[in-house]
């Protein structure tokens, strides 16, 4: 055999690229995934006692002797209860909008899907706006029952309530798709054989949904276990807020806080790994796939009993009200001035845009009767330096991390597909999926502690120091988003006809040209969708921001959180609540736009896009009186 043509020229550039790529990949994987997490693990067993001696089991003894198990138990309690409530509500909303014939189901669906554009810290603060001690509903109830406890919306029940409605997004997406995939002929066959409608539901429809429900249950359990924003803002002692608290504590205040935080994060990781292993094992058994060649579209079922029908409608609209009330109130109050927001009373004459744009002075009378003015303390989202700073920082960091994750994953997936039958491809894929096994908090905590000192392989810098923390946040964001990006981009690469690459090569294109001019343009819509979804998730992300919180890394979510705390105190930040509402509206607009672009515009096939382009051209041609351009 002869040597390949490329190697005849002496210096083989492709070999250089490969070596450089391999070194970079190993550097990133070891440096930003393995070593920080390993450091967290070892820190548990290297804690020093009062005499300064290493005591490998000190933290574990402390764990059982102190109140640490209560955090684990609280998290487990929340996770178990959340699985029940989220499944009940999630299955309900899908059946009510997709399976049963309920009047106004399109409006109901819109209401149930608001959590897609309104989640995380924005959602929790929205619920607080309605239910906390100064909330609308609380004020209304207190007016009727003066003796009631105004702090009723806090602790476990408040967290469970909020998270129940916050975590049904996955049901709204995936269970809906699963139920739409049912072959209606199977329902008709069961009816034809004498089954009653509810028997059909429980014996024919629900069993086919079980694999999806199982996956959703496991994901909900993990969400409950790793809950952060709701327990923090509503006051519930679960694992994640405690880890963040301990991470910021010092040995002067309590015994080995960092090692305890590490232990809690490792416990969380063990639970996550066990659950994901179980899920993976279950998924390998396969889903029930319809073998029908001519699948019939599901026809909505009319509930025969009038009583049951009325009850179903009442239930559907009660859920709708629960979903929609915070959203509607937030939107309405975003356009009210601060006295109206504070009094929680809507007034058309108090309509204003001050929560979005511009500043106003605040005049008040001191206890000595003097009139004072505070300049510009009433300010809008886009006029308040703190808020704009948070938005700008979150925008830049999220965009950078989302782009970095996409670049890494696209290059890696291209490599994986080129070497799909080889072990090294499987290794690369496993490395990129590694963060999926670990809770976000473990990764962030590990970053924070490991890089809070000089680390040789990052040029001896402390990455948790001053502005460096921003780089650390970008790296953490990127690492956390890699598994999702990998799964999505891999699916897009699967969709490429293998013969396209062969065709390009056969016509004379090199590997690089084939990748850039054939494969990349084809997967680009999917890659952009992944970028947009990751950006959307990171832009208002709370859990990681809370872990890295510092004056140089104050993200938008942390700014929103601060608005709940500093409202109106001593005349500063008078319209904190109004600006919080306006921020939520802004977030909903951004998320709504992104989801529209991804699932609306992005989901259209080429034919549909061309058809729309043609119509657009014809429309403009009619307006301008010119002939439509192109074809």
């Amino acid at each position: 055999m002869q040597r390949t043509e490329r190697s005849r020229g002496g210096l083989d550039l492709s070999l250089l690229y490969k070596v450089f790529g391999a070194i970079l990949f190993v550097y990133l994987f070891l440096g930003f995934m393995v070593l920080p997490c390993l450091n967290t693990l070892t820190s548990i067993f290297t804690a020093r006692d009062a005499a300064g001696n290493v005591d490998p089991f000190a933290v574990i003894r402390f764990f059982f002797a102190g109140n640490m198990p209560s955090f684990v138990i609280n998290s487990l309690k929340l996770a178990v209860c959340l699985v029940i409530t989220v499944n009940v509500v999630g299955i309900s909303i899908v059946l009510l909008t997709e399976y049963f014939d309920i009047k106004g189901s399109k409006i109901l669906r819109l209401g149930y899907m608001t959590t897609l554009i309104y989640s995380g810290v924005a959602l929790v603060t929205g619920y607080q706006f309605l239910y906390d001690s100064n909330g609308m509903l609380t004020q209304w109830l207190a007016g009727m029952f003066p003796g009631m406890n105004r702090q009723w919306f806090s602790g476990f029940s408040a967290v469970l309530f909020t998270m129940t409605f916050a975590c049904t997004s996955n049901h709204a997406l995936f269970l809906r798709n699963a139920i739409r995939g049912i072959d209606y002929n199977t329902v008709e066959a069961a009816r034809n054989m004498g089954a009653k409608p509810f028997k059909v539901l429980f014996r024919v429809v629900m069993p086919t949904l079980l694999p999806t429900l199982f996956s959703l249950t496991v994901m909900t359990f993990i969400t409950g276990l790793c809950a952060m924003s709701a327990p923090t803002l509503l006051g519930y002692n679960s694992i994640n807020p405690e880890i963040v608290r301990l991470a910021g504590s010092s040995v002067a205040d309590e015994a080995f806080p960092q090692a305890r935080a590490a232990l809690l994060s490792i416990i969380l990781a063990l639970f996550t790994i066990a659950l994901l292993t179980m899920l993976n094992h279950y998924e390998r058994k396969g889903h029930y796939l319809s073998v029908s060649k001519t699948k019939a579209k599901l026809v909505k079922q009319r509930i025969q009993s009038p009583v049951a029908r009325v009850l179903a409608h009442i239930y559907a609209y009660v859920l709708f009200v629960i979903y929609m009330t915070p959203v509607v109130m937030i939107v309405l109050f975003a356009f009210q001035n601060w006295p109206a927001v504070r009094a929680k009373s809507l007034n058309v004459s108090d309509w204003t845009l001050i929560n979005f744009f511009g500043t106003q002075d605040y005049s008040y009378t001191t206890s000595r009767g003097k009139q004072r003015i505070r300049k510009g303390v009433i300010s809008g989202v886009f006029s308040n330096a703190d808020t704009v700073g948070g938005i700008r920082l979150s925008f830049v960091l999220s965009a950078l991390a989302a782009a970095l994750a996409c670049v890494i994953v696209v290059v890696a997936v291209n490599y994986i597909f080129k070497h799909k039958d080889k072990k090294r491809a499987a290794v690369v894929e496993a490395c990129l999926l590694f963060p999926w096994l670990l809770p976000t908090i473990l990764i962030c905590y590990s970053f924070r502690t490991f890089f809070n000192g000089e680390v040789w392989y990052v040029l001896g810098k402390n990455l948790y120091y001053r502005e460096n923390v921003r780089f650390l946040i970008v790296m953490a964001y990127t690492v956390v988003k890699l598994p999702f990006a990998l799964r999505m981009v891999k699916a897009a690469f699967y969709a490429i006809d293998g013969e396209l690459e062969d065709a390009a090569r056969n016509l004379g294109a090199s590997s690089l040209v084939t990748f850039l001019r054939v494969k990349l343009p084809i997967v680009l819509p999917s890659v952009l969708a992944v970028f947009a979804l990751n950006f959307n998730a990171l832009f208002t992300e709370y859990d990681m921001s809370a872990t890295f919180h510092s004056s140089y890394g104050k993200s938008y979510a942390m700014v929103i959180q601060s608005m709940t705390a500093e409202e109106g105190r001593d005349g500063y930040n008078m319209n904190g609540s109004g600006r919080r509402c306006a921020s939520t509206v802004f977030i909903m607009l951004v998320s709504g736009l992104i989801l529209y672009l991804v699932y609306g515009v992005g989901a259209r096939d080429l034919g549909e896009r061309l058809e729309r382009r043609k119509k657009r051209r014809e429309f403009f041609a009619r307006i301008t009186g010119r002939r439509p351009a192109g074809n």
Binding site: M1, Q2, R3, T4, E5, R6, D497, E499, L500, D502, A503, A504, R505, N506, L507, G508, A509, S510, V513, V518, P521, I522, D605, L606, G607, L610, G630, N631
Partner: protein, 362 residues
């Protein structure tokens, strides 16, 4: 269109090439292609024919450079090409799925290879226009590929391969996604264009009628090795094995014993009757053998060589289909244009006869 002849059609030589794969289930190596040795003359149309898994596509992909042979050498125009990557080989391929780039329109798809070769814009415009005219797609330059019918997509794929003026044109089952009528139309088109341009073409198919209709030569493969090579007529009338005979069209096999041998002929005793057949095999009296008979080569009559009984008589429009019993053997007969002939019913005792040149001894 006179100037649109292939600049220099090239011949292909496969010098004892083999390709080894690992069986994913057993982990053992096996030969997907074993010791294939053949020469394709410049300007000819050669078809690699065979059932699924016989190694025909692997052979084609080795010529294109998508697979590399584990043994042997491939020559294109006399030059060894094993070491060349696919983009450096003077071949162009038409794929089964057409592999049209979905983000390019017809013009850009066809122009893709020319742009990679840094051909000037004017020249690209000229050559793409000419080739689209040749494949009868003029005026569709701006259409996206999903706005074309299956046949039009096929023509774009063909134009894209032809426009770069390759030394050898490769086809990987290019008609399998078309309906039966269009398939016949397109294969005629492909043959017309190949002959017009005088280009060397290697064509992979599992459809024997397609191979017969389109090829100068057929290479029939089985389990990675060449079962027989030759012109369509040779392979059809003189198959060298039961596999070849059975794969190319329908066939009857009458077992018997050689009773006499003459120059280029032999008598074979079947069911007590001596039947004369042409053979070039070295046979001797007493040898066991099989007479290969095509259904359309047999004549059914009241008087003939071999008595038999009709078990099925079925009118099929252009022909009458018979199944007759000769001893233990069921013989299929196709009697064309039955309206002019006597039609036999089930249960009738009749005789079969055939021209000795249409029979072949295995």
């Amino acid at each position: 269109m006179a100037d649109m002849r292939a600049k220099q059609p090239k011949g292909v030589k496969l010098d004892h090439i083999s390709k080894i794969y690992k069986d994913p289930k057993t982990g053992k190596d096996f030969y997907a292609v074993h010791d294939v040795d053949l020469t394709i003359e410049p300007g000819t149309f050669v078809t690699l024919l065979g059932p699924s898994g016989c190694g025909k596509t692997t052979t084609l992909r080795m010529i294109a450079g998508f697979e590399s042979p584990d043994e042997g050498e491939i020559y294109l125009g006399g030059e060894p090409i094993n070491a060349l990557t696919p983009n450096k080989r003077d071949t162009a391929m038409v794929f089964q799925s057409y592999a049209l780039f979905p983000h390019y329109n017809v013009f850009d798809n066809v122009a893709y290879g020319l742009r990679l070769r840094k051909v000037s814009k004017d020249e690209i415009q000229k050559r793409v226009t000419e080739i689209l005219k040749l494949v009868e797609l003029s005026g569709m330059e701006q259409r996206m590929t999903n706005q074309l019918s299956g046949g039009q997509q096929q023509r774009v794929a063909l134009a894209r391969a032809l426009v770069v003026e390759p030394g050898v044109l490769l086809f990987d089952e290019p008609l399998s996604n078309l309906d039966a009528k269009l398939r016949v139309q397109m294969r005629t088109e492909i043959r017309r264009i190949q002959q017009q341009l005088g280009i060397t073409a290697v064509y992979v198919t599992h459809d024997q009628s397609e191979a017969m209709a389109i090829s100068d030569n057929i290479i029939l493969m089985k389990k990675g090795v060449i079962a027989q090579m030759g012109s369509p007529t040779e392979i059809y009338y003189h198959p060298n094995s039961e596999f070849v005979a059975d794969f190319i069209g329908e066939c009857n096999f009458l077992k018997g014993t050689v009773s006499a041998v003459r120059s280029g002929e032999a008598d074979v005793r079947v069911n007590g009757v001596d039947l004369t057949v042409v053979t070039d095999k070295a046979v001797k009296v007493g040898d066991e053998g099989e007479i290969v008979l095509r259904p359309e080569a047999i004549v059914l009559d009241d008087k003939g060589m071999l008595p038999c009984k009709v078990e099925l008589s079925c009118f099929m429009g252009s022909y009458q289909n018979y199944h007759v019993r000769v001893g233990d053997t069921l013989v299929k007969i196709t009697d064309n244009c039955p309206i002019n002939k006597k039609v036999f019913d089930v249960g009738e005792s009749v005789c079969i006869s055939f021209d000795k040149r249409c029979a072949h001894l295995l």
